[in-house]
């Protein structure tokens, strides 16, 4: 039996298993039959096993160079390195859907296994919800995009196996898509639990604790995947930036926004029994947006430079699925609306609850704005109004202030008291950070003056020029002072926490600093882990603000010439032609000079893969420092004269974006490791 046949049969069995399991779970829930529910649980494990088997089959097909299967033929060839043959599994549409099924099946099994004893009333509902979602994707695989589809005729007629585009054969391809998929798919679990709790009427159940870790897991992988995509674009593609508000980029961002809101809002529910309607809504929307994201990325409905093919059939199927989820879920919510009433009311504007509510509205607004703007060109066209393109300036105009508002809340939120902050408490909490923020603002305004003076070659800037500089960079200035404010709040919290943690046990000497730090994290891991994540976010914002001071120049430069770039000089030291088994390379040799001294030698290049002679790739090279990147990218090269079209960038503070992200992930790891209940009281 061929792999293609075995694979297809596995998918059919998987489909039948999903149907059966969902049926068992639904009937078992209705009849409260432990036997049927037990059967459903076994079904979930069987589904995971079948999905695992199907996945290993497709991987085997790749490793064995089974080109009778169309998918293998399209995305692999015999010469490809082993690693990329495995990653080709999720490289194309069909395989990526199977990857979705694998992840969802495994996560479902894990979630059921972990929570079966803890939430017996919820489990049947969790099962049929997760399995029905799985069923949809398995159905897609069988009826629309079977990765095991063989060639009907002789495979030789199809030509040579295409192989993975060499542009994609890098480490990023191995990590970036799976990370995003992990983030997307894991949102199904909190969704299933949230819906199960509402359906079962168990609104006080601690379902949110069980799913907090899943949501954090999802959030972590979405964050990682998003930033990795940005880093990939920055390092490999040569246009000098890392985020372009492209629809596929946005598709990863909007579920991230609502997941962030959910992670915060859930604390309010835990602590005060409030915002339950918000939380159910947020978890529905987050999951829904993860499907929208998958749909946008793979259906070609929206124009994108990530040129996935257009697939109207797939688009329509997904569209129906999305409508069913949306109306079904919110229908259930509305049915249980009264039951989800808050236990308490908002008492004051100066309370943490209120800050979190504003946070919810802000992040929801950002998610809907990005979604709406991404979809707007498509709707505009459907309405017969002609086609339009949304530019970055549209997104930045709204998202920059919104992001700064979020940064402000990051500083304020943790410092506000529950229910109501007294004047005393406000004073105690905010005086120092506000002072730090104001001093920073004045400081950067003064620094602008100094910078302007340098640009004008020592001439004192006029008031008008200074004011223009401040206005030009107003958002960056605001960002710097808010970053300082928020950082001060976090440092203050740590300092105060450490002071308490250092207090000795009676009759003993004061604890050492490392000891105190460890105590701090063990007592309130979630809180301090959260602060580290906030610090990471603040650092990322700081890094983004550097863009306001960036420089870009395009020049034609001959070997031996030197051009100016900000306070650097770039000297063309020649070109070099080389070749390896895969490609021809022209490498430029450039010296980056500052005050006449060579700071670094950079070697941007252009590569022509033999496989893709019409599609040269641009390899950038950059000089990295904490202050800025000097980034060089060669465009066209004239080999007879050596004339090179060079694109040069100075990207201030860009490396802080990556540093901040690492901090975020580190903080997240601390939080995920938290043992639940003890921390709830501490936040």
């Amino acid at each position: 039996m061929s792999v293609a046949t075995l694979g297809t049969i596995t998918l059919l069995v998987l489909f039948a298993m999903c149907l059966t399991t969902a049926g068992l779970a639904m009937i078992g829930a209705h009849r409260r039959s432990a036997r049927l529910i037990g059967g459903a649980v076994q079904g979930v494990y069987a589904i995971a096993a079948l999905a695992g088997f199907a996945s290993s089959l497709i991987i085997y097909a790749f490793l064995a160079d089974d080109f009778s299967i169309q998918y293998v033929h399209h995305t692999s060839d015999s010469a490809m390195p082993l690693f990329y043959k495995i990653t080709a599994f999720w490289g194309g549409l069909d395989g990526s859907l199977l990857f979705w099924v694998l992840l969802l099946s495994v996560f479902s099994a894990m979630a059921v296994a972990a929570n079966r004893k803890r939430h017996p009333e919820l489990i049947p509902h969790v099962i049929w919800i997760l399995v029905l979602i799985d069923l949809f994707f398995v159905g897609l695989l069988i009826f629309v995009k079977n990765p095991f589809e063989p060639f009907l005729l002789e495979p030789e007629l199809a030509g040579n196996p295409r192989g993975l585009n060499p542009l994609l054969q890098n480490a990023y391809m191995i990590i970036h898509p799976p990370s995003l998929y992990l983030g997307y798919v894991s949102l199904a679990v909190p969704y299933a639990f949230g819906m199960a709790a509402v359906i079962a009427g168990q609104v006080d159940a601690a379902w949110q604790q069980s799913v907090r870790r899943w949501t954090l897991f999802s959030w972590t992988f979405l964050s990682f995947g998003l930033v990795l995509g940005g880093l990939w674009a920055y390092e490999e593609l040569g246009w000098g930036g890392y985020w372009a508000w492209d629809p596929v980029e946005n598709a990863g961002l909007f579920p991230w926004f609502t997941a962030t809101a959910f992670l915060h809002s859930i604390m309010i529910q835990e602590r005060r029994g409030m915002m339950r309607r918000w939380n159910v809504s947020l978890v529905i929307i987050s999951f829904w947006l993860s499907i929208v994201g998958t749909f946008l990325t793979r259906s070609g409905v929206v124009q994108s430079v990530h040129a996935f093919g257009k697939d109207p059939v797939l688009a329509m199927i997904f569209g129906v699925f999305l409508l069913v989820i949306l109306f079904g879920s919110f229908g259930v919510l509305i049915w249980r609306w009264q039951l989800l009433r808050s236990r308490a009311e908002l008492e004051s504007v100066l309370s943490r609850e209120f800050a979190f509510m504003i946070n919810n509205w802000l992040f929801l607004a950002m998610a809907l704005f990005v979604l709406g703007s991404t979809m707007w060109p498509t709707f505009h066209e459907w309405l017969g109004q002609g086609r339009i393109t949304i530019r970055e300036s549209h997104y930045n105009h709204y998202m920059v202030p919104a992001g700064l508002a979020a940064l402000l809340l990051t500083g304020i939120g943790p410092l506000l008291a529950w229910r109501r902050s007294s004047t005393d408490s406000l004073q105690r909490q905010f005086v120092i950070p506000l002072a730090v923020g104001l001093v920073t603002l004045v400081g950067v305004m003064v620094w602008e003056y100094i910078r302007l003076q340098r640009v004008l070659d020592g001439v004192t800037p006029s008031v008008a020029q200074l004011r223009a500089a401040w206005m030009d960079h107003v958002w960056a200035l605001a960002c710097f002072s808010l970053s300082a404010f928020t950082t001060a709040t976090i440092v203050q919290e740590f300092a105060r926490g450490l002071a308490v943690a250092r207090k000795p046990a009676p009759g003993k000497p004061p604890r050492s600093l490392p000891d105190a730090v460890i105590r701090l994290f063990m007592q309130a891991r979630r809180r301090y882990g959260g602060y580290i994540i906030h610090l990471g976010v603040t650092v990322v914002c700081f890094g983004i603000a550097g863009k306001a001071y960036g420089i870009e120049r395009k020049v034609d430069i001959y070997p031996g010439e030197t051009v100016e770039l900000g306070h650097y000089e770039i000297r063309h030291d020649g070109l070099r032609a080389t070749e390896d088994w895969q490609k021809q390379m022209i490498t430029g040799e450039f010296a980056v000079l500052r005050d006449g001294e060579v700071v670094e030698r950079l070697e941007p290049a252009r590569w022509w893969y033999f496989q893709l002679p019409d599609q040269p790739t641009t390899e950038v090279d950059r000089h990295m420092s904490l202050a800025e990147d000097v980034y060089l990218s060669m465009m066209t090269i004239d080999l007879t004269t050596g004339k090179t079209q060079l694109r040069m960038f100075i990207n201030p503070l860009v490396n802080w974006v990556w540093i901040g992200t690492a901090l975020m992930l580190f903080g997240s790891a601390i939080c995920i490791g938290t043992r639940k209940q003890k921390d709830a009281a501490r936040v």
Binding site: L164, M173, P177, W239, G309, L346, V349, I388, Q615
Partner: protein, 140 residues
């Protein structure tokens, strides 16, 4: 004591005002019309005087570079209608005669020449779905 209606109104009002200010100050070139070259050539007066994006195929053997200014001159066409383009940036990696381009810029007042500083190009060879996340169109 619950949050007073006054506080809620004030907050909502502030947010509302901020949103309106943002919307009114939105940049004009945030949204651009995207038109195929044949429509532009047929009714240029509709498109003069503002930034737009045009989509067409690069006419074979039409690419020239002005040695003095470095600008590129080429023709784009769609469904038989042809438009002259002057481009002052650097040609994207995948620019090729016969290939599709999307150029951002402005039509001259006389509607004969399109001046552009930003362009993305798709390789002339046809793709089906691209695996993974690589851009098939390079941007300049």
């Amino acid at each position: 004591m619950a949050l007073s209606k006054t506080s809620m109104f004030v907050i909502a009002g502030l947010i509302g005002v901020a949103s309106i200010v943002l919307i009114l100050s939105a940049p004009d070139e945030g949204m651009l019309d995207y038109i195929y070259v044949d429509k532009v050539v047929d009714s240029p007066s509709d498109y003069v005087g503002r930034d737009i994006q045009i989509h067409g195929l690069v006419v074979a053997d039409s690419l020239e570079q002005d040695q003095r200014t470095g600008d590129y001159h080429f023709g784009v066409e769609y469904k038989g209608r042809r438009l002259a383009v002057v481009f002052d940036g650097q040609l994207p990696d995948t620019f090729a005669e016969g290939g599709e381009v999307v150029a951002t810029g402005r039509l001259d007042d006389d509607g004969r020449v399109f001046r552009s500083s930003e362009m993305s190009a798709k390789c002339p060879s046809k793709y089906e779905e691209e695996p993974g996340g690589a851009p098939a169109a390079a941007r300049s």
